[in-house]
């Protein structure tokens, strides 16, 4: 490998991207499996490799609170967390978004207690899906690195001004070493630029009040404005990705469609499981089955248009959720995809599978079985499987 390539874990890649972004302030609290992000970053600070003020707080609640203080003050602020840490931040996530502060956070996805489990699933970030943050889910370590570098540009875009979570599967990506093609420090610096907010707390010459109380006569308008910013992100995310692709040769869109052009059946997923499904799709294709895969890279904002365009023509679709939504038919991805397909002139048959909870990754054999069930449903030889768990002992 030349210097352009490195073997990095997801956490190391995240820390490296952060070093190249060189945020003004990092506030963090350790939690498995994202701990190494801030450990590695702390070493950069200790070595004088970055000029970042580290705020090593006493809880994730304070980590996000400090990020809010820093971002409002006019600094580029970043942090990392997982699971219980994200849950503890929950209150402040809404405030960061409501104050329109472009904080960037790397989230190594992990299951939520109880029962205690430190392994991967997406229950944590799914619980934050309506907090007003942009949520991007990555497939591999390379995409994590690239997406973190794009995140400040998306967050700080004047028409967006919203915080961004870059979500990567705990352990599966956070602790696994993969080959990553790196960018030059200078190239990253040029790409992300300097954060210069129009209004900021430290501007004592133009004192602003941030975080006032809004009564029923204004609160709705504030929320409507926030929704608009999220809608603008639908255009800005691909725009930033396009510029990244033009400069560095790797393009990432709102979704990743794999062999969907002529497909009849497909599975939909977020995160690293997409890679496994791509393998299965190839095997199905070898058998002559018109199989494909759709991965949503952006979950917030929800790429409804692409989802409808790509899935409506299909015959049968399985939606894999790595988080359950008890009391509803399946998981959140299932609910939302079915919802946006409602107005499509033709719709596929849809199944929903909750999988991968607490680190039980989807096996190739399980994915294959689901595709085979879709194949039968598409052919009309069997009913599509009802929503359920992909694998749970009875």
């Amino acid at each position: 490998m030349s210097n352009r390539f490195a073997a990095l874990t997801g956490n190391q890649a995240a820390a490296l991207a952060m070093r190249q972004i060189e945020p003004d302030v990092c506030a963090a609290y350790p939690i498995t499996p994202s701990t190494q992000v801030m450990e590695t970053y702390s070493q950069y600070v200790a070595d004088g490799a970055v000029r970042t003020e580290l705020v090593l707080v006493e809880s994730e609640h304070s980590a996000m609170s400090a990020c809010v203080g820093a971002a409002c003050a006019g600094a580029r602020a970043m942090t990392a967390t997982s699971s219980q840490g994200l849950a503890l931040m929950h209150e402040v996530l809404y405030i960061a978004a409501g104050l329109r502060l472009p904080i960037v956070m790397a989230v190594a996805n992990r299951a939520l207690s109880a029962p205690l489990n430190i392994h991967g699933d997406q229950s944590d970030t799914m619980g934050s899906r309506d907090a007003g943050w942009i949520q991007l889910y990555v497939r591999d370590v390379q995409e994590l690195y690239d997406t973190l570098i794009q995140a400040p540009r998306i967050a700080e875009h004047c028409e967006v001004m919203l915080p961004v979570m870059v979500c990567f599967d705990g352990f599966t990506l956070s602790h696994a070493i993969e080959r990553v093609e790196l960018l030059e420090d200078g190239a990253v610096r040029d790409f992300v630029g300097v954060y210069r907010p129009e209004r900021y707390l430290l501007d004592v010459e133009h004192p602003h009040t941030f975080g006032p109380a809004l009564l029923p006569d204004y609160y709705t308008e504030a929320k409507r404005q926030q929704r608009e910013a999220m809608s603008r992100a639908l255009e800005i995310i691909p725009h930033v990705a396009l510029e990244f692709g033009a400069r560095f040769g790797r393009a990432w869109g709102m979704v990743e469609a794999y062999r969907l052009e002529d497909a009849e059946i497909a599975a939909v997923v977020l995160g690293s499981t997409a890679g496994t499904l791509m393998e299965v799709v190839d095997r199905m294709r070898e058998r002559g089955v018109r199989a494909g895969m759709l991965r949503l890279r952006a979950f917030r904002p929800f790429p409804a248009e692409e989802v409808v365009r790509l899935l409506a023509p299909l015959k049968a679709v399985a939606i894999f959720d790595r988080a359950d939504s008890p009391g509803t038919p399946s998981g959140p991805l299932y609910e939302e995809i079915r919802s946006v397909l409602y107005d499509a002139p033709a719709r596929p048959r849809i199944s929903g599978m909750v999988y991968g909870l607490g680190g039980r990754e989807m096996l190739v054999e399980e994915a294959s079985a689901t595709y085979e069930a879709l194949e039968r449903a598409a052919a009309g030889t069997a009913e599509i499987p009802p929503p359920g768990y992909l694998s749970a002992r009875g």
């Binding site: 506030a27 705020v55 006493e58 203080g69 409002c72 600094a75 602020a77 402040v92 430290l202 006032p212």
Partner: protein
Amino acid sequence: MFQHKTATAPVSLKKLAEQPDLLTGGHRLCAGCAESAIVRQVLMASTYPVVAIMATGCLEVATTVYPATAWRVPMLHNAFENAAATASGAEAAYRALRAKGRIPDRELRFVVFAGDGGTYDIGFQSLSGALERGTRFLYICFNNEGYMNTGIQRSSATPLGADTSTTPVGEAVLGKPGWRKDLTGIVVAHNAPYVAQTAPTAFRPHDLKNKVARALEAPGPAFINVLSACTRGWRYEPADTIAITQLAIDTCYWPLFEVIDGKWHLNYKPKQKRPIMDWLSAQGRFRHLLKQGRLVAEIQARIDSEWDTLLERCGEAPVAAASVPPPRKAAGASD
């Protein structure tokens, strides 16, 4: 170590009055609320531009009713329990941006305003963290001894026996059980370079602002616990806000002191300590205690013992208690 400026002549009120008010009228705090008077004095006392961070509470909701703000200094409100952590982030940003030349190279000061709920209780962890990290800020606690913003519930600053909406007086229970938390002492235990107790009082009008001025010179975290009378929660007439505070000082219920670099200084020693009954009987929240002689004696004993401890820490000689209570004109109890 920093310069202990107690010897400096106080800035006269006339001099302060030359500056524009940094908290305007038109806010919606109760008539007679001490909080806005305290904020005005704090902002006046600073010779540096101030950046304010606020916890949720009466002050926040009453001074920033969108689209109106009473603040003429930059102000950020985040949530209830995280004003200290928010200030840590803002102060870190200040150091980072100043070092990188992205903001003018000038001294700013960060001042947190939070109530006793946001400080003693739900915000305690955040405060403790910021103190330990050494965040350079001045943390002002408006101690009105209860959760007044949500309708006068008890906090850990609520004194023994006080009638609040969650420690109501009934047949079985006489108001709040248990003594108040000694938060000032707890902050001292964090080794913050400047810690003080004060209260807005007309007989020592410079106490609060002088402490603020000294606190803003501290090289690390500074904390001032300000007794902030609440006309609704304590149940007295709004006009008595400052006078009732004086009773707290004269009874040694709320002594004025400073702890600078760990060294204790008493700022005021009454010649004769007034009996605690004077403080209790001035407020509706204690009305049910007035006939509870044993309980009042218990409160008096505890106040006496805490006062003695304070005198000892400050290296002062004990003070005699008043044998005959002086006539009380300052404040009257009300419902």
